[in-house]
Amino acid sequence: MKLALLRVEGLTKHFHGLAAVQEVDFSIHSGEMVGLIGPNGAGKTTVFNLIVGFFRPTRGKIVFRDEEITGLFPHKVARKGIARTFQDTRVFEEETLWQSLRTGCHGWLNSGWIQALLKTSSFVKGEGASRQKTAEILDFIGLLPLKEERAKNISQYARKKLAIALALATEPQVLLLDEPFSGLNPQEAEEIMSLIHKIWERRVTIFLIEHNMKMVKNLCERIIVLNFGRKIAEGSFHDISREPHVIEAYLGGEGVF
């Protein structure tokens, strides 16, 4: 049996008494690519926000590499090795792509401001490493020609890539992608799909939220389905697409009765 890299137990989140996520359990193993699907408002993004520490769970716990990370500050979670992208493709608008990724190297560099003032050798070495990392990621992601552009001036497609590149700059072990294909044309979506596959091949565990079933089917070996904050199914695409609960959820179950 494979060891769980990220494990969620009894995860529950109430907003003003309204349950957004209820008693959700799942684990993600090292080297997996897992999808999280469900109708709008099912609580998918809330699960992401709970994992990375933007929200504090009402109940339940989150364990990453045998260490409980429930309620840690987001920057601490990020530094443990969990990176995420945002649904609205958040990037540093005013920064060039080069600057953005240099900023993304923050977590694994450790020089302080006094070392920067004195230009100590460890500082110079760290800066070199971050430049190298930045160039490497830009090249890997195919954005090297745009490195001097400001993020606000690039296309939606390039922004999607930049958001992923920024997450990669933190050297994550798990990458949480929130709707990486939304707002793209089919051809661009294909490109992003192969990019995600390439990242996965580099031994980064991937957990993604997506509405596009074709992409989920092609990418994910295992899928978790949420509806009204509860996990209603889990398994391969083949299995879950035959689950009556899932079909019901997607067709709008209440009407059936």
Partner: protein, 331 residues
């Protein structure tokens, strides 16, 4: 030989720096009238204050309304240490700056938890408290009448060189100039580092910054503390240049003026603070503007800047340079 545009602009920049430095070094010979050299010294001190505010407001984006308080704390601490405790100025100056930084650190811990305008209001509240304390702790501060005849820094004896006294306007000018250059160097090194990039990330998108492992509180607090340190230095310089301090040195007007100079010059740029300060202190003085109209002029300039040059004078110059650059390279 063909030079890349990057190299060319670096050479131009380097040349500009050398030219400006030489010009600045000769100022005491060109301007000998006591009143004008005093004015130049004063705008130099304002420059230090605005440069220190730039680290807080410019790079981490926190609108601090109590920068004047740190100016006041620096002025009063070094003056009291010299005049009441009999310390050497060169010991009193760092202690004043460190105390100012420490107060900044303590205030920053609760105040920086609030964001945006709430932070501005919190710091404003603190600013008012500092002035009230200086006004009413009469046994220590002399109350509203302040402290008079503050001596200039005592002279330094350097081995093998003659003694450097700080009675003359020229030596005072050089001391202020060296401090400005140090602050510029400091800011430049800081911004081009992991810490500086974290500062900017906090200003640009705190949530995104957190998601890539940046602790916003830590960097806001660091910037606030460093800013308070140099504001304390500026305040301490002010005390001997003017020779008199009253609780007004810590007032909200000082904080406001620093913000106005910074916004007009260009928030978050290296040279903007200097341009803004020079424009708004030296120019009205040389044009013999009646002091009562000063705030009116500031108001109008602030309004025009925010509407027409949201990135300040430096932003305006930069976009002009880009336009000319394109014209000359034939694009």
């Amino acid at each position: 030989m063909k030079l890349s545009t990057n190299k060319k602009s670096k050479i131009i920049e380097g040349g500009l720096w050398v030219g400006i430095t030489v010009l600045l070094l000769t100022v005491p010979w060109m301007i000998t009238e006591r009143y004008y050299s005093y004015m130049i010294g004063l705008s130099g001190i304002w420059t230090i204050l605005v440069l220190s505010l730039n680290i807080v407001l410019g790079y981490t984006g926190q609108v601090s309304m109590c920068h004047g308080s740190f100016f006041g704390i620096g002025a009063y601490t070094s003056t009291l240490l010299v005049m009441k405790a009999g310390w050497s100025y060169w010991l009193a100056l760092p202690v004043a700056a460190i105390l100012s930084a420490f107060v900044g650190f303590l205030i920053g811990i609760p105040a920086l938890r609030s964001k945006g305008s709430y932070f501005a209001i919190c710091t404003m509240g603190f600013g008012i408290i500092v002035t009230i304390i200086l006004d009413n702790w009469i046994s220590l501060t002399g109350g509203p009448s302040g402290i008079y005849s503050i001596p200039p820094p005592d002279s330094i004896v350097l081995p093998f060189l003659r003694e450097i006294a700080f009675h003359s306007p020229a030596s005072q000018y050089y001391l202020i100039l060296v401090t400005i250059y140090f602050l510029l160097f400091f800011t430049r090194r800081l911004i081009d580092s992991r810490t500086g990039r974290a500062f900017l990330a906090v200003r640009r998108d705190e949530v995104l910054g957190e998601s890539i492992g940046i602790d916003p509180m830590r960097y806001k607090l660091l910037a606030f503390t460093i800013g308070a340190f140099f504001a304390g230095v500026a305040g301490s310089f002010y005390s001997w240049l003017v020779g008199v301090i009253t609780p007004a040195v810590s007032s909200l007007y000082v904080s406001f003026e620093a913000i106005i100079f910074l916004v007009v010059g260009g928030v978050g740029t290296l040279m903007g603070p200097i341009l803004g300060t020079l424009l708004l202190t030296v120019v009205p003085e040389f044009l013999q503007v009646i002091p009562e109209y000063r705030m009116v002029i500031y108001g109008v300039l602030l309004f025009l800047t925010i509407v027409f040059m949201p990135h300040g004078l430096m932003g305006g110059i930069r976009s002009l340079a880009v336009r000319w650059g394109k014209k000359f390279s034939g694009v």
